[in-house]
């Protein structure tokens, strides 16, 4: 039986401000920070940590998406189109979960970590350019009117962009959905580099669109944990309030930060998460 004290609630609240900030700025849910904190620092059992974290992902995603959609940074059409992939992937992942336990899950962690190292390397190599100009949209992207534009308040420029290779990005969204269902993390961390590197969506729009999308899959996953009784109210409440406060700081930072700085920081964050994934895989394999 988990006993949550007032001090724990305060600590969780403070850490969740940071998680909400990072999540909002980079298009992630923030589970990558919250789950290790709850399990390693607060001694919360993994299932309860994941359950509470999923609720906070919905909060981070929805509150930052509210701002980004209002600021027209989010590409609504692209988000809704790619949600087909992520939601289908999450359902597939849930069916595959039985197979990916123990050593199989460990190998998946290592493979996923290696994939993130590759994505980080490509991002670092292209850190001087957010997304190339004059991208040719593919047939599907044209049919679905996926091209977008957004006002960048950091540079004062209205950035217009086309979406290329939409079918590839849809396929990778499906894989992102599967991976997030199997590993409990990783929706946004795949989604943002995919949109930027494969479909040439500018970083800010990719991050905002990812935030918009992950709330949907996280809500579905969170409801399952909730119905199983694996969401503790004393873990979830400070998380919800904290990530919302953090997300409001993160969305303000997004306005003032130049896109290339976001891309560089994202690549560094990817490397850190990749190292963590590979380490987790290795420890689980033993």
């Amino acid at each position: 039986m988990l006993i949550v004290t007032g001090v724990m609630v305060l600590e969780i609240f403070l850490v969740s401000i940071f998680a909400g900030l990072v999540g909002a700025l980079f298009g992630l849910g923030g589970g990558i920070i919250i789950i290790p904190f709850l399990t390693l620092v607060e001694g919360v059992p993994v299932q309860l940590a994941v359950g509470a974290s999923l609720v906070s992902v919905v909060a981070t995603s929805s509150s930052s998406a509210a701002t980004y959609v209002h600021d027209r940074l989010t590409n609504l059409r692209l988000g809704m189109f790619l949600e087909i992939g992520t939601v289908a992937g999450a359902i597939t992942g849930a069916f595959l979960a039985g197979f990916f336990q123990g050593p199989n899950q460990a190998i998946l962690f290592i493979l996923f970590g290696a994939l993130l190292v590759y994505a980080a390397a490509v991002m670092l190599a292209g850190r001087k350019q957010d997304s190339p100009p004059a991208v040719q949209p593919d047939g599907l992207a044209s049919t679905l009117k996926l091209s977008g534009d957004y006002p960048d308040s950091a540079t004062g420029v209205r950035t217009e962009y086309s979406v290329s290779r939409a079918p590839h990005t849809l396929g990778l969204s499906y894989i992102a959905g599967i991976v997030s269902a199997l590993l409990g993390v990783g929706g946004g961390i795949i989604q943002v580099p995919t949109m930027n590197l494969v479909s040439k969506v500018p970083m800010k729009a990719a991050s905002a669109t990812s935030n918009f999308m992950i709330g949907v899959t996280a809500a579905a996953s969170a409801s399952v944990y909730f119905l199983r009784g694996q969401v503790d109210f004393l873990l979830a409440a400070p998380l919800m309030i904290g990530v919302i406060a953090g997300a409001s700081i993160g969305t303000r930072l997004m306005r003032s930060t130049p896109p290339l700085r976001i891309k560089l920081l994202f690549a560094i964050l990817l490397l850190v998460i990749a190292a963590d994934m590979i380490l987790q895989g290795v420890t689980r394999y033993r």
């Binding site: 909060a59 929805s62 059409r77 949600e83 579905a220 409801s223 919800m240």
Partner: protein, 112 residues
């Protein structure tokens, strides 16, 4: 008509209600001497509502969580209505597929 503002307001309102209920619940818990012995162990919607209405700290927080989890789902429903009104057949299809899969996941409990 523009979809951005209704979507932004839906998300904003859902999050605000969820966070407010979480804060009220935490406040009651703290005021009652950090006592969680009255926490709900069975979360059906009826139980949660009944507990929340009687001022039970966990019931109020759980009600906030229910509102929060429903928010993205309501957002997808709203988008579907919008595309339907705009007679945008392709996006009616896309959002309908997403909503169908989402409801399947919510009610079958297969996403873990």
């Amino acid at each position: 008509m523009d979809l951005n503002l209704p979507v932004a307001y839906t998300l904003r309102v859902g999050v605000a209600i969820g966070a407010a209920l979480a804060a009220i619940g935490l406040g009651i818990w703290a005021a009652q001497g950090f006592d969680s012995s009255t926490a709900l162990s069975n979360y059906t919607l009826g139980n949660i509502l009944e507990a929340a209405l009687t001022g039970n700290a966990s019931g109020i927080v759980y009600l906030g969580i229910v509102v929060l989890i429903a928010t993205p789902v309501v957002r997808v429903m709203l988008s579907l209505v919008y595309f339907f009104a705009e007679k945008d057949v392709k996006y009616v299809g896309i959002t309908a597929v997403v909503l169908a899969m989402l409801l399947f996941a919510l009610f079958s409990g297969r996403i873990a």
